[in-house]
Symmetry: C2
């Protein structure tokens, strides 16, 4: 399967999903699938900012000695964002509506990350 | 109720909770309640780092125009951390074991935040 097929699968499985992307920590999107109904949201621009912050959080977690960060979630009033590490260079990011299925989103990213890694 | 009573209540309600704190965005903890079994974890040191990153994420979210960030979660292999805004200056942070009740943690922070705000 291609990246896009995996990303479409994530968006289709999670109720309320707006878009999903494979991104590098340099802020460059490898592949993105965004629902048409979410076209007005500038998801990519925000994810670039989040990638930068994610890098810094990983350093903070190393101080904590609680193990490497696997997942970060950033929730605003209208959009929930879940980011999950795929490799030291790449991560998966999923945006969903505030009333979307958050637990399902976490689960689907967890099982999709190894499939993405296998194709990188 | 004092801050400490609220924090103890959060920790007692959420299965797997390790500690809870009211913190300022300057990284200074107003009040902390940490379970004795979690005494070896340097939670406070990490939360100071997270406070700094949280400030930056809020700026990123303003770019996104999806509304202000309400909640951030940072999950490592062994510890889940949920941070919830209380006011522009303060936030609540809850650490729980990776097998703790994450959904319950989010819920309890959401209902506790206005109680903390009322006493600030």
């Amino acid at each position: 399967m291609s990246f896009r097929t995996h990303l479409e699968s994530v968006v289709n499985q999670v109720e309320g999903a707006l878009g999903c992307s494979v991104m590098g920590f340099d802020g460059i999107s490898v592949e993105t699938h965004q629902k048409e109904e979410a076209a007005e949201l500038e998801l990519n621009g925000t994810w670039v900012e989040y990638a930068n912050v994610l890098s810094q959080l990983r350093q903070a977690a190393e101080l904590l000695k609680t193990g490497e960060i696997q997942e970060i979630s950033v929730n605003t009033e209208s959009v929930l964002t879940i980011m999950r590490l795929v490799s030291p260079e790449y991560f998966l990011v999923l945006a969903l509506r505030a009333d979307g299925n958050y637990g399902k989103g976490r689960y689907v990213l967890r099982v999709t990350a190894p499939k993405i890694l296998a194709e990188l």
